[in-house]
């Protein structure tokens, strides 16, 4: 696999920041995933060679980190926090509402590949609970209406 110019540049810069090559691994895997939607087999092989690791060693790292995945999910990844601060402010209802609205369950994607839904651990929005992340975007002080607005807005954006 050939890295995009952006990834190539990232790698070239980051590799100078550390005394060992493999230190770039965790952030690089995330940047790769941001571009490809997942850390693909080809990407694993490429980064393994660049960091002088085996593919297996890279997979071993991937499996530890909850944000990293080897298969793509829906374009808009809704990650609903249900941990305690959100739980206290109705996160269960928020999560249920998302399920109903999208017609999918936890860790499922819609058939059109647009949305993915996931229950996640604390995202650091405790004082603004309940909250979710849409890809890297925080959405806080959620209500069912706000979720409808978010999802409908994204759908509309896709139709255009």
């Amino acid at each position: 696999m050939k890295f995009s110019d952006q990834l190539e540049q990232r790698f070239a810069t980051m590799v100078t920041h550390y005394p060992t090559k493999r230190s770039v691994l965790v952030p690089m895997l995330l940047y790769i995933q941001d571009e490809l939607g997942a850390v693909t087999d080809e990407a694993i092989h490429e980064i393994a060679q660049r960091t002088e690791l085996t593919d297996l060693e890279v997979r071993n790292v991937i499996s530890y980190y909850s944000m990293l995945r080897t298969r793509p999910v829906g374009k808009y990844n809704l990650q609903v926090c249900t941990n305690v601060s959100c739980l206290l402010r109705g996160a269960d209802d928020i999560f249920e509402h998302c399920k109903k609205k999208l017609g999918i369950g936890n860790k499922e994607s819609t058939p059109d590949g647009l949305f993915h839904l996931e229950e996640v651990e604390c995202i650091g929005a405790c004082s603004w609970a309940p909250a979710l992340m849409m890809n890297y975007e925080f959405h806080e002080n959620l209500t069912p209406a706000k979720i409808d607005e978010l999802i409908d807005g994204l759908k509309k954006k896709e139709e255009q």
């Binding site: 550390y18 952030p27 650091g124 405790c126 603004w128």
Partner: protein
């Protein structure tokens, strides 16, 4: 992004520049930015460490270890390079304070890292942010680039003859990486498995070199200490607990938010005055005062000073500053289950007591809450938790065990009310309240 709140009782030190546009370097300079590091250069390493010792600054990540003392453990001479590592892997449930620092005052973190590096003789500093904090990573990356562009970091900083590099680094989702030895593993490109100690990071840390690891809030406090003086900072708080703290108020409160209050501020006042009290129609059931891993306090236990030592005396911990307020419509078994589910999910599996203990606790609590509990489950849960305490490499095992033990000790009746196949009597109350 994150909303700011304020209250007259606040003493703004770390949050002084919040909402003032200090992400822009010129604005930061107008607000006394990069003055502390220049003062630190003129002071020299020993004087910096002494000033921080005088300030009684203690680790804001949760453990509360005296920062100056931590720095003094780093050997002066070292064959291997020394490092400073800023822990911005904020993941303790209930905690959302470092986020505000990165968002509003990124240069203060850089300056803190610089001063720590000067104190211990490090030439490189790393600022590690959890993967979910991408927008904050971008803010930090820009701040670092701006500081390089002005020559504030890099070669010969402020004409001192010292070279100092600072880099940002993203995680990819892992609570355990917030523990310092796991954090180093992650930065080195590995699974975040804790290391056995000793040797401590101050002696053998990143890539085998002596390493100082501090929480972002701790480091952001340092420039203020250097400018204002250790004594001034110490006097803001209580004996042995210097300064202020960002308290993250969450739960069914009228005005939840992050407030900067002096160390030793009364917990009850924090809830009923600063945060506006409980949401209308809800009553206080308990308070988890320092992130989800600490012991719960009952309503009659909260008239207490919020500093490390007072909280310890009260039978809990100040922890990460995440004050989680439980209302009477929250079932304690349900709460215990959610907390346990989290630690079970985050346990790396390296230490058997934690890996197996969290799993059994989760299984038991799941069955128990669903009405399938038997009386001896309650003691079994406590027994499981007690046997995890102190038996793991990193504190994740303790973090999973301590809260559950406290829930059973303080709310045993609520557990017993779930026995004999009865449906959860507490959530029913919650549902009834929703309908009415």
């Amino acid at each position: 992004m994150a909303y700011l709140v304020s209250h007259p009782d606040e003493v703004k030190v770390v949050s002084k520049r919040f909402g003032m546009g200090a992400t822009h370097l010129d604005r930061y300079l107008e607000l006394d930015g990069y003055k502390a590091v220049q003062k630190a250069i003129s002071m020299g390493a020993d004087a910096i460490i002494n000033e921080v010792k005088t300030s009684n600054l203690r680790g804001r990540g949760g453990a509360g270890f005296p920062t100056g003392l931590k720095w003094s453990f780093v050997p002066k001479q070292s064959a291997k390079p020394k490092y400073v590592l800023c822990n911005g892997d904020e993941s303790e449930p209930g905690t959302c304070k470092d986020r505000l620092i990165f968002e509003h005052d990124p240069h203060a973190v850089i300056e803190g890292v610089m001063i720590a590096a000067l104190a211990v003789g490090a030439k490189s500093g790393y600022i590690y942010l959890r993967g979910e904090y991408r927008y904050l990573l971008e803010i930090m990356e820009k701040a670092v680039a701006d500081a390089y562009a002005r020559g504030f970091i890099g070669k010969n900083i402020f004409g001192s003859g010292v070279d100092l590099d600072i880099f940002t680094h993203s995680g990819a989702g892992a609570y355990e990486v917030g523990e310092e030895s796991a954090l180093m593993e992650s930065l080195e490109g590995k699974r975040g498995i804790p290391r056995i100690r000793p040797p401590f990071p101050a002696v053998v840390g990143l890539w085998g070199g002596p390493t100082v690891i501090n929480n972002a809030e701790t480091l952001a406090s340092v420039p203020h200490i250097i400018l204002g003086g250790g004594e001034w900072f110490a006097n803001l708080g209580t004996p042995r607990n210097g300064g202020t703290r960002l308290f993250c108020m969450s739960g069914e409160l009228e005005r939840p938010g992050v407030y900067e209050l002096p160390m030793g501020y009364n917990l009850k006042k924090m809830i009923y005055d600063v945060s506006g009290g409980m949401t209308k129609g809800k009553n206080l059931k308990g308070v988890v005062p320092g992130g989800s891993s600490v012991q719960i306090l009952t309503p009659d236990e909260i008239d207490v000073a919020m500093d490390f030592d007072s909280m310890m005396k009260a039978g809990s911990m100040l922890g990460s500053g995440g004050v989680i307020v439980l209302d009477d419509q929250m079932c304690i078994v349900r709460f215990a289950l959610r907390v346990t589910k989290f630690y079970q999910h985050e346990s790396c599996g390296w230490c058997i007591p934690c890996r197996e203990g969290t799993d059994w606790m989760k299984k038991t609590l799941t069955r128990f809450h669903a009405g399938g509990g038997v009386a001896k489950d309650i003691d079994n849960l406590k027994y499981l938790a007690e046997n995890m305490l102190g038996r793991t490499f990193c504190p994740l095992g303790d973090a999973a065990a301590m809260p559950v033990i406290s829930y059973i000790q303080k709310f045993r009746k609520e557990f017993e009310d779930h026995l004999d196949g009865k449906p959860c009597p507490y959530e029913k109350a919650a549902e009834a309240a929703l309908v009415s």
